[in-house]
């Protein structure tokens, strides 16, 4: 099994498709796991529930996280990730439409590694996504 490179938690299918296209276009990611709701994401990360069989030690290189998710919100996921010793080291990039200061401050308080506001313009969006993919996957040396 190939090592998981990106865990992408996002519920908007259009954004998913656009993101995947952007990443593919720049040949950034080969292995992307997409999860569309917050609860499922937590189960996946901590290998519980539906993902109980998953090897918990197999960690993604980076997590792309939307803030507005069904059931469990992105900020809650971020909080749980950064509170757990086993998952704390995984870089988390918040990828959201929200420019709200409240969201940004909370994200950084929980220890987010990057906060990216999705641009409307597709070129800019595409650039932003591939740039952060490049950075976190290729340039950043993770533990």
């Amino acid at each position: 099994m190939k090592t998981l490179e990106i865990l992408y938690i996002e519920d908007n299918p259009s954004d998913i498709e656009l993101t995947l296209r952007a990443l593919k276009k720049h040949n950034v990611a080969n292995s992307i796991q997409i999860i569309k709701d917050g609860e499922e994401a937590l189960e996946y990360i901590f290998a519980t529930g539906r993902y109980a069989d998953r090897d918990v030690k197999e960690k993604p290189k980076v997590i792309l996280l939307d803030l507005k998710l069904p059931k469990v919100g992105g900020l809650e996921i971020l909080k749980r990730l950064k509170a757990d010793e086993n998952t704390r080291a995984i870089p988390v990039v918040v990828l959201t439409s929200s420019r709200e200061e409240k969201d940004m401050i909370e994200s950084y308080n929980y220890g987010v590694n990057s906060y990216v506001v999705k641009p409307i313009n597709f070129d800019s969006f595409s650039e932003a996504v591939s740039a952060l993919g490049l950075y976190w996957l290729l340039i950043n040396e993770s533990l």
């Binding site: 439409s97 420019r99 709200e100 200061e101 313009n121 597709f122």
Partner: protein, 737 residues
Amino acid sequence: MTRFKIIQDLSIKNKIIIIILSIIFLIQSIGFTFIAIWDIKRIKSEIQTNLVLNTKLVANNCVVPLTFGDDQQATEALLHLKNIKTIEMACLFDKDGTIFATYPETLNKKDIPIFTEQQNSILEDAYFHIYEPVLFQNEKYGTLYIKANSKPLRIAKRRIIITLILLSIVLDILAIFLAIRMQHYISKPIINLKNHFDKIARNHDFSQRIEKRNNDEVGHLYDGFNNLINQISIKQEERKIAENELHLSEEKYRILIKSTPLPLCLVDNDGNIVYTNDRFTKIFGYFNEDIPTLNDWWIKAYPDKKYREWVLNTWNDAVEEARIEGGDIESIEYTVTCKNGSELIIIIAGITTDEGVLATFIDVTERKFAEIEIRKLSKVFLEATVPTIIENLDGIVQEMNEQAIKEYGYSRAELLGRSIKLLVPEEKHIQADELLKLCRNGKAVRNIEGLRRKKDGTEIPVLVSLSMLTDESGSPIGISSTASNITELKKAETEIKKINENLEERVKSRTAELESVNKELEAFSYSVSHDLKAPLRAVVGFSQILKEDYGTEMDMESNRYIGLIKDNAENMGALINDLLNFSRMGRKELQKSQIDLSAIVQRVKSELQADVQDREISIKIMNLPSINADENLIYHVMLNLMSNAIKFTSKLKNAIVEVGYINQDNENIFYVKDNGIGFNMKYAEKIFDVFQRLHSIEEFPGTGIGLSIVQRIIHKHEGKIWVESEMNIGTTFFFTI
């Protein structure tokens, strides 16, 4: 006369000396002359006697020769004469007068004297001539003549004279010496007296006495003198004391007049103001120099000509009357204008004297105003629309106003002397007593709710206020009691209470509504942030993808449509972003700090570098002062204003954008100026409204929210922002922080 005058002017000492010496000289001269004459006579007769005696001796010796005619023997006899040196010649005549013998033997014929019978002896031509008869037994035999020089007499004379002169000199010296010595006894005490006089005259020191040494007339003179000086010095002392007392008393009166709390002014008969005291200057401000004459006073103190004339006539009449009747000048009230222009009401009175007029001034301005005040107040009291009663400290009615009579229905006579409780229902008597006590103890009793009962028995709700009335010294003399009827007020109050109760509920529900609306709004903007942008992104993204993947298969028109979809969606995204920013700005707390505006402007300039890359544009930035503001927000302001300036100059070839400030009235006014297309100033207010655009999107792109945000930021900083613009000349945005 002059000689005597000189003597008269001589000092006593010299006078005495001269007198003594003169007397001595006189006596001495007389005495010595007498002695000299007498002595010389004696010597002369001695010499003569001697000569006669010798002549007689020789004549005796000549008797024989003559008798015998023996001339030889006669000559020998004559020769004896040679022992007497003075005898120069001798002749012996016989009885007939013929020369018988001579001495010396040979004798010149012409020297022979004339014979004379007479016996005599004379002194002639400095020679003694002696004729002596030669007698024997009373018979005359001849005559002997002897001629002798008077040398011894001359010598004796000289000796006497010299001796006397020497003696004179010695005596004179002695006399001078003595005179000088002796004059002391007389002149010294007198000189002493005179010196004493001089000293006293010079020093005016009458304390010295002259010491008495002798008991003579001068001594008495000294006594008299000392006595006199004593008298003078006593008189002097008395005068000094009197003068001192006079001076003290003058000084006392001078100070009294100068500082008396009553303004005074002294005018002489010529109309000159000769004196004004301190209080005069204090009250009116005029110094004596300001008003040297009465005329100056009239003009300055009564600048109004008509009033001045009245004052002049009134005053002059009053003075005239006082002169005729010899009394005081009548006290009359005048309005005096002070040096500083203020007006005082002054009662001027005074007295007339031979020298002029002494005027006194009494400032009654305050009293006058107080009177007016009291009159006003009593009018207020009497005509007040609130029933007011004046009671004594025990609550006994002493006075009341019209309104009290009208309101309570009692007559004045019915109320006077009765307790205030007459007007209070029984159940409120305790309260009335307590209020009275409070007021007596100096506590404020203001608008206390109470009740009043009218004569007809109806009760009215009132607000009672009690005030202590005091005399000048502050001791209480009575109580003023007002009771305003609050029947209407009470009704209104009940109404208001009801309304208020409703209002409170309404405010509560409104607040709750507002809160929920606010929450909804917040949620709305949050969801706009998230949800509204996602579909836009999808529209933009998929349009792009469509163009990328199938652009070549579609015709031009299709491609254009796709482009339009994308552009509009992007625009909408920008709009949403700006709107969110705008609403965020309203909620955000300012994070003020001292920020370097120049640095911010430089940052903005580099940010905007991309927009001006291919343009001919000069961006001038002044050195700006630091300001106390929110850095992020000010950055936003500058970004917006400068990008606007760059945007609206984009069609110019030589665009100039200038960022600077001016200091006006200690306030820094910052500005961003461009020479762009400008706009009509009638839209100057609109330009800050949300979504307000003055140009089409095609001409100058933008959402129309930027300036609203800028204005909001400036207002949040309690600053001002305004714009000046002219079509095709340029636009300048000014703001203060």
